[in-house]
Amino acid sequence: MTDLSMPQTQTRSQSNTSKIALRWLLYILLGLFALYYLMPLFVMLTTSLKSLEEIRTGSLISLPREVSFDAWKTAWSGACTGIQCEGLRPYFWNSVLIAVPAVFLSTLIGALNGYVVAQWRFKGANIIFSLMLFGCFIPFQVVLLPMARLLGMMGIAGTIPGLIFVHVIYGLGFTTLFFRNYYVTIPAELTKAARVDGAGFMRIFWSIFLPLSLPIIVVTVIWQFTQIWNDFLFGVSFSQAGTQPVTVALNNIVNSTTGVKEYNVDMAAAIIAGLPTLFVYVVAGKYFIRGLTAGSVKG
C-alpha cells in the first residue's frame, strides 16, 4: 500500500496547520472534480423532474420549480416507442434476456480461454491470443453487414440468441485478455499439484481456478454488462420486432425527427435505461478496483 499521507511531520505546530490546509485543498479539489462528473447527471435528473411547460420556458439547467414524477411514470410505462405506448418496460426484459446469457457465456468462455493461454501454453497459443486481442479493436460498424449475412445464413437473424451470439463473439477479446492477465499471476505449481493429484484439464479449471477468480469475474462482468447493456448498434441492426433491447426503445423515445420532444420523459427514460449499469457500478465498484489490482492491469 502506498500511503504517502502518513508522516509529513515537521515540528508539531507547524505541521498541523499546513497539514490541515493541505487536506482542505485536497478535499476541495476532489469535490470540484466530483461536480464535473456529476453535472450531466444533475441536469438529467432535474430535467426529468420538471414539467414540459417549465422546460420550454425556463433554463434547461436550473432546479425544477415544481417536482413532478409524471415523466418517470410515462417513461417507464406510457411513452410511445412506436405504435405501442407502453414505455420502456417491455424492452427491459429483452435486454435482460440478452445481457445475462451473453455476459455469462462470454465470461465463461473468456475464463476458459484465459486459462488455456496462461496455464497450458502450447506452441502458437500466444499467436492465437494476439489474434483474439486484435478483435477488441475492430470498429463494430465494419462488421454489421457481413454479420447480418452470416446470422441470416445461420437462421438466427433477428432473434435473441442471435444477439447473444454477436455479443459473445465480440466480447471474447476483452474477456480473454482479462482472464489471461489474471491467470498468469497464479503460480504454475498449482496446476502441477492438481495434475499429480490426478485431476484433468476441466477438473482443475472447475475446482481450482474458477473458485479463485472472483475478483476478475467481477471486473469482467462489470465490463461486459456495461458494454452489452449499453449497446445500440448491434441491438438495432440484429433485432426485429419483439426482440429489441432497451437502448433501441430509449432511442425511439428520445430520437424523434419531426415529433414533439418531451425532454423530461427523455431524461427519465435515459436514467431508467441506465439504472442497471449504474447499480452494478455502485454495488460492485469497490470489487472493480480490487479486481484490477489483483492482476488484470499488469498487462
Binding site: 412506436g82 441470416g152 433477428g158 425511439n252 423515445i253 415529433g259
Partner: protein
C-alpha cells in the same frame, strides 16, 4: 390471414399515434401488425437495421422509405410489385403526377405514399410581427429588411438549429426562392453543372451568408423544436422549417393565424417531402396478403385524412376533403394543387426526395461547411461542383 411487419421511424408522441391509426385499420381488416420502430437520425438508424435485415434474408414486409431511395432499393432487386393494388385502387388518378413518379419503379408500383410534407414554410410569431409592424415577407429582400428591423429591435430575426439537415432546409428554400423552380430543378434535381456554378448559385450562398447574421450565437447543434420554442416564446421572430413545426406550436396550445403565422418561404414553387412505404419481397401468402392490404389502406382516403390530421402534413391524394384541417394545411394543399399544375411542385433535396443519398450528402456537406465558416460564396460554389462530381 394478412400479416405485416412494418419498419418505420415514427416513434414518439403524435407520430406514433398517427401510425397507430393505420395499425387499427389493418387489424380491423383482419391483419396482424408487427411493429418495428427504429428512430434516430431522420431514419439513418432504421436504414442501418434495414440493410442488416435484407442481408440476413428476412426483410420486413413494409418499410418507411422515400424518394430516390425507393428506386435504389428496387435496383437491388428486393422490392415487391404492388401494381395490382395500385391499379385496382386507381392511384394514378388521385395522386399528383410528380408524387406518383416517386412510387413507381420502372413502370411498376413499388411504394405507397402516406402524406405530403411541405418543406418551404416560414413560421412567425404573430405578436412580434405586429409589434414591429412587419408583414410576412414575400421576397427575400423583404425578409432581409424585416430581419434588420427586428435585429435593431433586439429580437433574434431567425430561429435556427445548426444541424446540417436544418442548414440544408434553409438552403433549398433560399435556392427555390431566389432562383425559381426552374433553377431549382436544374441545380438540385438534375445536378446540372452549369446551374450549380451559376451566378444565381452565388447569390444563393450570399443570401445564406446574410442569414447567418440573423441567427443567434448559440444555434449550433440546436434541435429544431428548440428553435420553434424560441419563436413561440417571442425570443425569435421567424423559423424556416417543414410543416411538422406546426405540431410543436399546437402542442403548446398556440393557435395558427393568431399566435403564430405560417406562410411559404419567399418565392414560387413548392418543395415536398412525401413519406411512403415501400413493399419488400417477402415469403408466404400471409405476408403478401398483408402487404397488399397495407398498401390499399395507406392510400385509402380514410387513413390519409386521419393520419395527416394527426401528423400536421396533408394527404398525398388530392381527393380528400380538407374541412377538418387547419389553415396552414389548407394553404399547403391548395399550393400543391396549383404548383402541380404549373410544374413547380418539386422534390425537397434536403429531405432526400430529389437525389440519391451520396449526392445529397455531398451537397449538404458544402452547404453546412459554408454556413458554419467564413467561406466565400465563390469558393462554396466551386466546392459544390467538385463534391457533386465526386459523388457520382
Amino acid at each position: 390471414e394478412p400479416q405485416a411487419e412494418v419498419l418505420h421511424w415514427w416513434t414518439s408522441g403524435g407520430e406514433a399515434k398517427s401510425v397507430a391509426v393505420l395499425q387499427e385499420e389493418f387489424a380491423s381488416n383482419g391483419g396482424t401488425w408487427t411493429d418495428m420502430p427504429v428512430a434516430g437520425g431522420g431514419g439513418d438508424a432504421a436504414m442501418t437495421a434495414l440493410r442488416a435485415r435484407v442481408l440476413a434474408g428476412n426483410a420486413p414486409t413494409a418499410v418507411q422509405l422515400k424518394g430516390p431511395a425507393i428506386q435504389e432499393w428496387y435496383e437491388e432487386g428486393v422490392l415487391a410489385d404492388i401494381s395490382s393494388v395500385a391499379e385496382a385502387e386507381g392511384w394514378a388518378e388521385v395522386l399528383p403526377a410528380s408524387i406518383a413518379g416517386h412510387m413507381m419503379c420502372e413502370g411498376t408500383w413499388c411504394a405507397a405514399p402516406v402524406n405530403v410534407h411541405r418543406i418551404d414554410w416560414i413560421w412567425a410569431n404573430a405578436d412580434i410581427l405586429a409589434a414591429n409592424d412587419i408583414e410576412m415577407p414575400s421576397t427575400w429582400e423583404e425578409f432581409n429588411a424585416a430581419a434588420e428591423k427586428l435585429q435593431a429591435a433586439g429580437v433574434i430575426p431567425l430561429a435556427h438549429g445548426g444541424q446540417s439537415w436544418q442548414d440544408a432546409t434553409v438552403f433549398e428554400a433560399v435556392a427555390l426562392g431566389l432562383g425559381g423552380p426552374e433553377f431549382y430543378q436544374k441545380a438540385l434535381v438534375d445536378l446540372d453543372p452549369e446551374a450549380l456554378t451559376s451566378d444565381t448559385m452565388i447569390q444563393v450562398f450570399d443570401q445564406m451568408r446574410t442569414m447567418r447574421g440573423y441567427v443567434d450565437e448559440n444555434f449550433s447543434g440546436r434541435d429544431w423544436n428548440l428553435a420553434t420554442a424560441m419563436v413561440m416564446n417571442g425570443e425569435a421572430a421567424f423559423q424556416i422549417m417543414g410543416d411538422w413545426a406546426k405540431g410543436e406550436f399546437l402542442a403548446a396550445g398556440k393557435k395558427p393565424g393568431e399566435d403564430f403565422l405560417c406562410a411559404s418561404t419567399p418565392g414560387d414553387g413548392y418543395l415536398y417531402n412525401v413519406d411512403s412505404f415501400a413493399m419488400f419481397e417477402v415469403e408466404g401468402d400471409d405476408n403478401r396478403a398483408g402487404q397488399e392490404l397495407l398498401a390499399k389502406l395507406i392510400v385509402a382516403p380514410n387513413f390519409q385524412e386521419v393520419f395527416n390530421l394527426n401528423k400536421g402534413s396533408i394527404p398525398a391524394r388530392t381527393d380528400v376533403a380538407l374541412d377538418a384541417f387547419d389553415i396552414c394545411a389548407k394553404i399547403s394543399a391548395e399550393d400543391m394543387g396549383s404548383t402541380s399544375a404549373g410544374g413547380s411542385l418539386l422534390p425537397s433535396y434536403a429531405h432526400g426526395m430529389a437525389l440519391r443519398g451520396s449526392q445529397a450528402g455531398a451537397i449538404t456537406d458544402v452547404v453546412t461547411a459554408h454556413f458554419n465558416s467564413d467561406m466565400s460564396s465563390a469558393d462554396a460554389v466551386q466546392q459544390l461542383a467538385d463534391a457533386v462530381a465526386n459523388s457520382y
